[in-house]
Amino acid sequence: MAAAVPLAVLALLLLGPGGWGYAEPLRDSLREELVITPLPSGDVAATFQFRTRWDSDLLQEEGTDHYFLRYAVLPREVVCTENLTPWKKLLPCSSKAGLSVLLKADRLFHTSYHSQAVHIRPVCRNARCTSVSWELRQTLSVVFDAFVTGQGKKDWSLFRMFSRTLTEPCPLASESRVYVDITSSSQDNETLEVNPPPLTTYQDVILGTRKTYAVYDLLDMAVISSSRNLNIQLKWKRPLENEAPPVPFLHAQRYVSGYGLQKGELSTLLYNTHPYRAFPVLLLDTVPWYLRLYVHTLTITSKGKENKPSYIHYQPAQDRLQPHLLEMLIQLPANSVSKVSIQFERALLKWTEYTPDPNHGFYVSPSVISALVPSMVAAKPVDWEESPLFSSLFPVSDSSSYFVRLYTEPLLVSLPTPDFSMPYNVICLTCTVVAVCYGSFYNLLTRTFHIEEPSTGGLAKRLANLIRRARGVPPL
């Protein structure tokens, strides 16, 4: 199969024109970090962030042409390890060194929550944006159910969650850090203990709340060298009081209502729990063409009153070509629930367009809610490059608010399904009807009909003849 190559004399041509350009070799820069947040319920959320950035002169033309901006969504996909493998391939250190060692599929997919993302975008290299770099950001968030698997204890360690520990930093990474949320401990020193004790801590305002993190820098020799591996452990000294989990200022819910297979209604509930600030949200909805939206039934009510959106963009669907696109800017009053509802009619599909399991229903993609949510704590604008990755995907432009993008749950709508054996039934029925008609017609035309002379007669006649003979009258 493979053979050693007899080399041709090509040296001559290879010593072509031009000399060596000793430009400073450009290297992709990689930063990676892991944020571990113990949740009040006892669960532990772990978020990996990997950012690869490289300089490129691909994008020389002026910015993005928004006319060609595309939005596509796959409402549901069953996740499995096959989703992780290609994702891991994009990491420079694959899963051989650094934080990516912890990415073990059988642990990551046995969690109660799994979210995996790839973002790619151009990033300006200077203030005037004359040159751009490309940024590939890979994030993976999982929530471990530490309370149940730990027999009622909320303590956790890296080894217990991932069945691996950290041994060495990725040699390609310029930054490799683990952040552990110790906010509750910083308020009063007695609640929890992290082991090994962190060398540094980091404070920042994340999504409107002040947080404190213990920082472990893998590139710092002191962190790993002591025992050749790093197994971060957290112990609760004193169980927390049963405090209610904090409610986010903005959250949303979506459902489909109505009965029967003809009409229905899509409703989205938008909650603003901020006690005194109203803020606008942008709601983007794409609905497949086979749900025929009645736009005149679009109603938005907040606190029992009609709420008029300040901006509506609607692009009607075309059968089999494009879905409905509905985009609205809605002002949410303080401490309120706003309901956006719209009625639809279910369309009939062609019988080859149904999925293999049509009675399961059809998925409708989630709506996307984007908002600048006012913050309770003023965040100070920080240098974007210096701050940790988890706070820098959407940079804070204004200290009094932060950006949030929410996706509601996807919906499952059942469409009227035909009887798929109908063509066969129709053929059989018509054939039978035709055959019955044909049979009688055939009989009528081919049978010969005789007029038969009655020969002896029936029982009644014989009886009559007997009586007649007895009477001496000639028989019939």
Binding site: A3, A4, V5, L10, A435, N443, F449
Partner: protein, 555 residues
Amino acid sequence: MAAAGAAATDLEVVRGKRAALYFAAVAIVLGLPIWWKTTETYRAPLPYSEISGLNALQLRLMVPITVVFTRESVPLDDQEKLPFTVVHEREIPLKYKMKIKCRFQKAYRRALDHEEEALSRGSVQEAETTLAEPQEQAEGSLTVYVISEHSSLLPQDRMSYIGPKRTAVVRGIMHREAFNIIGRRIIQVAQAMSLTEDVLAAALADHLPEDKWSSDKRRPLKSSLGYEITFSLLNPDPKSHDVYWDIEGAVRRYVRPFLNALSAVGNFSVDSQILYYAVLGVNPRFDPASSSYYLAAHSLPHVINPVESRLGSSAASLYPVLNFLLYVPELAHSPLYIQDKDGAPVATNAFHSPRWGGIMVYNVDPKAYNASELPVKVEVDIVRVMEVFLAQLRLLFGIAQPQVPPKCLFSGPQSEGLMAWELDRLLWARSVENLATATTTLTSLAQLLGKISNIVIKDDVASEVYKAVAAVQKAAEELASGHLASAFVASQEAVTSSERAFFDPSLLHLLYFPDDQKFAIYIPLFLPMAVPILLSLVKIFLETRKSWKKPEKTD
């Protein structure tokens, strides 16, 4: 009264019989064809006879050669006979259903003034540049200049010269049989420069029965509309090596010119990547004698698979992908050498895999380790690497080293690494291969249609088939008349159309509706209709036989 009654019943019986017969006739003559027609799968008419004709197609490959005689190349009385044309035809013996004939058409003429002038110059390169300027030669054609026997254009011991363009120079002779001798020499040179059996055998390797040479012949990539070339730098040990290669510059300087010269063959796209922690699938053996590691020839096939899962470029491309890997071995396994079958280290430290690509092992200079701490900065000597990769690229495209006839001067390669006549050879081979592929595809489509009756052929599929057949015929004609460029284009068109027809998804639409099911569905109609008809036909038949036998007995 009774007689009249009997006569009436007879009449009635005859009418009944007639009605039954009419029913049977209508059902058979009208009903069955209508049912057949309405439930039939749609099939547009196809040129079956022409497709089967393609199999017996005789390919005649014509190489037009212009032979130019200078003043003192042949005896004077022979010069008087010019110009005339000689045809040299030869059948190429291949175990293939197509008959392939190779035809060298030599048009002899006298040299024009400017040609005389150019050929009287000092060196052959100089003569060539002055000759090349006025007219560009068509693809596939050759020009051979016959110079005088004692001309100083060539070194004295050389009889002929093959140039980088489509020209060659042959020494003349002063002899009675001058044309014959020169003619043989010209054929020798022309065969080196254009069609040979090897080229065609390699092109048809997939269609020929296996023989012991076939593995070598199957090395080139299959003909395709485009190719993707990926250069990957594998660095399994980023902790000790910080490898940098200037691949952009190398591609611009060395690969692009070569691919531009090849652009007639297809579209090329080139990309590169650096993979860290990518290891070979085989553990190298340690050789204590030279304190180095080696990969034995028999373990090389196992090297590729684990790496390939990380390359990932074939998933994004429609075209065949050629991979070129530069492997910088780990510190623990260096230096690493590749051994050939006899155990000797391979000079280039590289190997290639047919139709897949090439791998080169690049050892870091051991001096670098002493100088500085890890990781060691490694700057890849890209010229050395590209030398190997370009040689492998040539092999994978099937551009073999030419067999130079004895006593022939051979010009060095051009700056793009490809000679014009090498490109022609590739085009000949690819045209023949495309024709063979297109014919095979069309024939199998026709066979498939004969075997499986419920394949739908829509009108657009049928038009693709017609297009493919026409393109094959056109390509064959163009080959026969020596127009290589248009023949190649037509052969590509033939492949595209035939494959588009063969792989059209509409062919499969009714494949899940087999014939027995079709008949089963219509049983509720057929059974009640057929039974009375058959019964009455049997009855009629029996009665007529009885009435025929009766008169015989009375006689």
